[in-house]
């Protein structure tokens, strides 16, 4: 994957070149094993393969070129950060590296060992100097979605320029007020670092661009659930992951092209797996690149993932921002309302999530649900019990998996997943 032409760029970003080469090598091999080995993939996936092969190359070069033109790069770790506003100041918003064991030892010198793999990973990537996205950012937005992240940002903030958004924990009127003030504070910060004012015109365009991206992903989510399944769950996961750092307009167009191909495949009644393959939903914690462990295990165990309830799934794409607002004030209100629909496990109570899972299980006609929690992720591990109870009422079997990014438990996970697939077959 290493392109010599990017070496200078990486050096300018102050990356640890040797460690970064090592990361790319592992990533390339992992991608080859998990993705390129698939049979009967759609032609449209070539775009995704290309984007991923250039994830630390061409896309970073685009970011550098944009920076040279005076545009700012905003980094995020969470679906709560409204990309609409970043686009409205002509900034680029990207998700940051947090999906692999990297720099874990270094991370454990500033955060407790009993911290989830995602948090350790973003700190580790920063400390090991191997994430060109983190290094490109003019500002990184943290958010208070859990205690682990909240406190980790204090340590992270000493190494990178940060702005923290407070996410309410309930959805009362006072919480909505707090959220609005946080959105406005984010707007002020964006205007300050870019020197640009958000106008009704720029915000309207920002809302439209992000909504179009969500609409393309909604279309994909509907099509993927056809019988026989037209696209692997791994591929859809990859698409959702790429949606966090690709150019939104180009991405939307590519996904719509891919969806056209999926429609052709559905019309011909062709599937990526036989029609009677057990259909599963994944629910729970998000999976950042290259965290493909569990979907790969599932799809090598004779099942296929047809829906995904997580921040790299329907949680991020289900709701659109109302596009009828004309003034900045009206549009900010519409943005606030849309983001407060997010059914993150940081809320209490969070019954919407249970309803949404139940509905998605019905709509996508799944034979079972695999609930995935990252080890030490309190909010999602707690909700595992409720999700299981809710699904039991609809007689949908559920398997709870708690794991991290390491590979030591792959064999045990395989046994569990295979047994679950046998159970529902």
């Amino acid at each position: 994957m290493t392109q010599p032409s990017y070496k200078e760029m990486w050096e300018n970003l102050n990356l640890d070149i040797e460690a970064h080469d090592g990361l790319l090598e592992v990533l390339g091999k992992f991608y080859g094993d998990i993705y390129m080995s698939q049979q009967g993939r759609l032609q449209g996936m070539e775009y995704l393969d290309f984007v991923l092969s250039e994830v630390h190359g061409l896309r970073i070069k685009e970011l550098m070129d944009a920076k040279a033109q005076g545009r700012k790069i905003i980094g995020t770790f969470c679906v709560f950060v409204p990309e609409e506003l970043s686009l409205a100041v002509d900034a680029i918003q990207v998700g940051l590296c947090a999906g692999a064991d990297a720099g874990t030892e270094a991370a454990e010198t500033i955060v407790p060992r009993n911290t989830c793999a995602l948090i350790k990973s973003f700190i580790g990537f920063k400390m090991a100097k191997i994430c060109p996205y983190t290094e490109s950012c003019d500002l990184i937005i943290g958010e208070t979605t859990c205690d682990g992240k909240k406190k980790a940002y204090e340590a992270f903030g000493e190494m990178a320029p940060m702005h923290i958004m407070e996410i309410p924990q309930r959805k009362e009127a006072s919480d909505r007020e707090l959220w609005k003030s946080e959105v406005l504070r984010f707007k002020d910060e964006l205007e300050k670092i870019t020197g640009k004012k958000i106008t009704a015109e720029s915000l309207k365009q920002g809302i439209k661009t992000v909504n179009d991206k969500r609409r393309a992903l909604q279309r994909l989510n509907t099509l993927r659930a056809a019988t026989p399944t037209p696209i692997s769950g791994r591929d859809v996961l990859l698409i959702n992951q790429v949606s966090f750092y690709d150019d939104p307009v180009r991405f939307t167009q590519s996904i719509n092209t891919l969806c056209d191909q999926i429609e052709e495949r559905i019309a011909k009644n062709e599937g990526i797996v036989p029609e009677n393959t057990p259909r599963l939903m994944l629910a729970g914690c998000p999976m950042a690149v290259p965290n493909w462990k569990l979907p790969y295990i599932i799809e090598s165990s004779g099942a296929v993932v047809v829906s995904e309830e997580s921040c790299i799934g329907t949680r991020n794409t289900r709701d659109l921002v109302d596009e009828s607002g004309e003034t900045v004030e009206e549009m900010i209100d519409a943005i606030c309302e849309r983001y407060m629909k997010i059914d993150c496990a940081c809320f209490t109570p969070n019954n919407e999530r249970l309803d949404n899972i139940k509905k998605l299980a019905e709509e996508t006609k799944v034979d079972g649900v695999i609930h995935y929690s990252l080890m030490f992720c309190q909010p999602y591990t707690h909700e595992t019990f409720k999700v299981e109870k809710t699904l039991a009422e609809s007689e949908v079997p559920m398997l709870a998996i708690e794991t991290d990014y390491s590979m030591e438990d792959v064999e045990q996970l395989k046994t569990r997943v295979e047994a679950f697939v046998e159970m529902i077959s």
């Binding site: 079997p397 708690e402 030591e408 438990d409 064999e411 045990q412 046994t415 569990r416 295979e418 047994a419 046998e422 159970m423």
Partner: protein, 254 residues
């Protein structure tokens, strides 16, 4: 004829079925070279299909054996094997070398729910095996050794290594070693009981796997659950039998 083989972490068992009749049973330690042990256990066995289960199930291939092979997980294998031996069974407890499983069954014998221990060997046969060496007692006799105790001493740690530390501290305090051993068995039973409760314990309960040979674990399970678990004659062969039955059903399809 169908062979069912259960390749566990500690031992492998073979069952050969001719129609409904078991015509051969064999058992060998898995050792560090399971592939050679597989060849040994299959020596002279001519069957139409081999059906493998256990953590080494993927080792069983046509290249290795010269016979068509299929595989299934231990969970399904135990469900099939136990339902065959005890058609009325509703819950299974299988404590093997490195895994403990609690399986609840529908009335028709299908798996309804299961729980399995995580990546660590706490509460498994490995735990007992490791601690029996601390007492310098052969694993086969460890249960009866513990039953000579009268006051089970509380062992809090579920971790094998920390449990050993607790046991050695108790020894250093001059406590009765039989009571310590009883406490160690008790800690397995507590963990197992929790697992059974999570899948929803419905009688009859069948206890199988290698640890079902341990008289102390059986006794303490009876005392804590107030029920008498059913135990197959050779509890460590239930998985291999289930595998063979699965193989037979596959053969009918093929």
């Amino acid at each position: 004829m169908i062979a069912g083989i259960d390749i566990g972490s500690r031992s492998m068992e073979l069952v050969v079925l001719d129609g409904d009749k078991i015509i051969l049973k064999r058992k060998l330690p898995t050792t560090f070279d399971p592939a050679s042990q597989i060849k040994k256990i299959m020596d002279g066995v001519k069957v139409d299909l081999i059906s493998a289960t256990g953590y080494g199930r993927k080792l069983m291939t046509e290249e290795l054996t010269g016979t068509p092979c299929t595989s299934l997980t231990e969970i399904k294998a135990y469900a099939l094997g136990i339902s065959h031996l005890f058609p009325e069974a509703r819950t299974i407890l299988d404590i093997g070398g490195q895994d403990t499983k609690a399986i609840s069954l529908f009335k028709n014998g299908k798996v309804a729910k299961f729980e399995m221990n995580d990546r660590c060997a706490a509460g498994t046969g490995k735990f007992l095996e490791h601690l029996s060496t601390v007492f310098q007692i052969p694993i086969e006799d460890f249960g009866s050794y513990a039953l000579e105790g009268s006051e089970p001493l509380q062992i809090n740690s579920m971790c094998t290594v920390f449990a050993e530390t607790e046991a050695t501290s108790l020894m250093a305090q001059g406590k009765n070693p039989h009571d310590i051993a009883l406490g160690l068995h008790g800690s397995i039973v507590r963990r197992t009981t929790n697992m059974l409760n999570r899948v929803g314990l419905v009688e009859p309960l069948v206890f199988a796997g290698g640890v079902a040979n341990n008289s102390c674990v059986i006794k303490m399970l009876q005392d804590s659950l107030f029920i008498n678990p059913l135990i197959p004659d050779e509890p460590d062969f239930a998985g291999a039998l289930g595998a063979a039955l699965f193989g037979r059903s596959q053969q009918k399809i093929l």
